[in-house]
Subunit: 407 residues, 2 copies
């Protein structure tokens, strides 16, 4: 007998029919003798409907009241799922975030979980109940309703699994696991049976939108065994996210992540002196623009070239800021490009293997793909290329590193 | 400066536009220097939509989970109204029933209020906030969400007014006050400036569906000054519900109530012996059928005739029960009629005036309307007549008692 936390997203509970399907899946786990805690999101579309109502009244809705409003979405789902479980003859009980007492800070619309009272849930589980908890929401110390921000239901699931010391946290979604890359670009992309937390973090932040990144961090921190599964398939073991020490033998590369959300800004011919990076990036940070990759190269004539990437939505703003400070920092030229893409190889195995970077560069060169920027970490190599080569680059790298073969 | 509790029903908050209108009305009271607590219902149609979802899953939804579900309706409205008030530059704060801590018993879907913590509300009011409270809902001692049953938002308004010792509780609805009778039947029906609690209770229970009867009882018990107003008119003072001792001079008759929801069952020729009423009504009560009027007449031949009325929906069931017990109670015949209507004169003034009943009977006789049953209380005379004479009876009585004239 195990204690399992299952989280179902909005598309898995988008109608009464689908809610009944979720109840059937839960019933199968109960029939196997497991204790089950279910975390649910709002029915898909509901959160957007509620935000639409709010915006019909306040263009910039008050955060406290917005949380009161959108928290109703999950509250509807927990009641309906509990009814569906009872209709199948199971004992079930719903909990809002406040009823569990998922205590958060008071940062409305993006609150962080501080603690969870698991006592009542455990009592209900021991009495044979399926416990159904509203994802995405909590309560601050003063009793105000808070929400964890979009995707926060994953975090609720992982946090509950940590608090209850659950044997596994299963995240049911509309994909059946984590793939070596996006199957829409590489049809041979293969579902991974396991992936490490570090790799998952790199994959998630780079655009493989399977799990909310905060929930992965949370799971890593509290050693929660996390599994991604499809809520629309009866069979399948999904992808288990492992701790590195558990992994028997890691493949060198686990997957290829990519995104085309970025743009780059280059400052050419800046005097090479201390403080120049701050002089360039300070004004950008002051404008609340997040910077991703940063590269600085010293040139021959005691000047330096400086390049960074920002989200494409903020490209014009960032470029404008740099043009206004160009004179004061003594730069020769400021220019930008928003037709770029980032491609990354991710794998903990590359720590103990040399030559991965050079293989990657050789593969791209053989296709005539020019590399504009390079950035590396212990388990990731990222390159920025012309956007038009993105699909080609992902395909040839997937093949070059034999990712279609099971490791 | 006064402290006013205002309650707005579902049609008053049925769209974001109407919610903005409510905010404007609240703002006018604030501008006059008053402190305002607003109690709101769910947007009209929302409660039925949620119940529809529940019934798509459980034909007889679990009461605890049904309360979790439908309580979201008012939660949506409090958030939206608070936003609308802020958009007008006012300070506002929403409270669910649980956040106020409107403590109720644990009778899900028909809970009763036990106590209200008014401390936080008072602190917010003193800090200049408009306090917006979800009607219809509370929380039991264990933290379960409860609801007060349909129309319970009126009760929430009155209970808050009592707890806060408010100067007035204003119930905004889609009618502009209490009338002498239904204006759809008697166009000359007149809006009453005042009506006593006792009269209001008789009017409400008889079918003048302006206020939920529980809220009127509550207001009477806690001496809350209650006023019924239209939420769709700018002007107008509505109808004030007074305590009898405040009323200067009461008219003899305040209004005429009626309903056609009832049916009558008659048991003829029952042996006239002790225990016979119980033998007849016991099986009906056991079947959870509510009985309204009961009349027993002793006949000449040591038998008695027994007639009672039930809701028309339960007529067939009640008749069936009586036919099965007919033999054991020794009745000659059991028959029924579901084409009846009840018409009632209501007025505290009739206590000190004789001859009201005979005037009523004379008026009906002059129109050839036969009276089938009569029942009287201190401030009410009810007759049961053939349903087809209902409108005629109400019109001639309204005229005979000069109700179109202001008292």
């Amino acid at each position: 007998m195990a204690l399992i936390v299952q989280k179902y997203g909005g598309t898995s509970v988008s109608s009464t029919e689908r809610i009944k399907n979720v109840a059937q899946r839960v019933a199968r786990f109960k029939a196997q003798g497991h204790q089950v805690v279910v975390v649910v999101s709002a029915m898909s579309g509901e959160t957007n409907r509620l935000i639409g109502l709010a915006k019909g009244i306040q263009s910039n809705p008050d955060p406290r009241e917005l949380d009161v409003l959108v928290a109703t979405g999950e509250q509807v789902t927990i009641a309906l799922l509990s009814m569906a479980l009872m209709e199948m003859g199971l004992k079930a009980k719903s909990y809002t975030g406040a009823q569990v007492r998922i205590l958060t800070d008071d940062a409305h619309t993006k609150a962080r979980i501080l603690s969870i009272d698991e006592e009542n849930l455990r009592r209900d589980l021991n009495a044979g109940h399926v416990v159904v908890v509203a994802g995405f929401q909590g309560v601050d110390e003063k009793g105000n309703i808070t929400t964890l921000g979009r995707g926060g239901s994953d975090t609720t699931g992982v946090a509950l699994a940590a608090a209850l010391k659950a044997d596994e946290c299963q995240i049911y979604t509309d994909v059946d696991g984590v793939y070596t890359t996006d199957p829409r670009i590489v049809p041979e992309a293969r579902k991974l049976k396991t992936i490490t937390f570090e790799e998952m973090l790199e994959m998630a932040s780079l655009g493989s939108k399977v799990l909310q990144i905060r929930s992965v961090e949370f799971a890593g921190k509290y050693k929660v065994k996390l599994r991604v599964l499809s809520s629309f398939e009866e069979e399948g073991e999904g992808t288990l996210i492992t701790f590195e020490e558990e992994a028997m033998e890691q493949p060198i590369i686990s997957g290829i992540a990519f995104n085309r959300d970025e743009a780059k800004v280059t400052v050419l011919g800046v005097p090479d002196r201390p403080g120049i990076a701050y002089a360039i990036l300070g004004p950008v940070a002051d404008a609340n623009i997040d910077v991703d990759m940063i590269i600085q190269n010293v040139g021959a004539d005691s000047t330096t070239d400086f390049t960074f990437t920002v989200h494409r939505n903020e490209f014009t703003k960032a470029l404008g800021i740099l043009k206004t400070v160009q004179g004061s920092i003594g730069a020769r030229e400021v220019k930008g490009d928003d037709k770029i893409a980032k491609v990354s190889l991710v794998g903990v195995g590359m720590r103990s293997h040399s030559g991965i970077a050079s293989s990657m560069f050789k593969t791209l060169a053989a296709e005539g793909i020019n590399i504009q920027m390079i950035s590396t970490s212990e388990i990731k190599i990222s390159v920025v290329i012309d956007e038009k080569y993105l699909e080609l680059a992902v395909r040839v790298l997937h093949k070059a590193f034999d990712l279609e073969q099971a490791a």
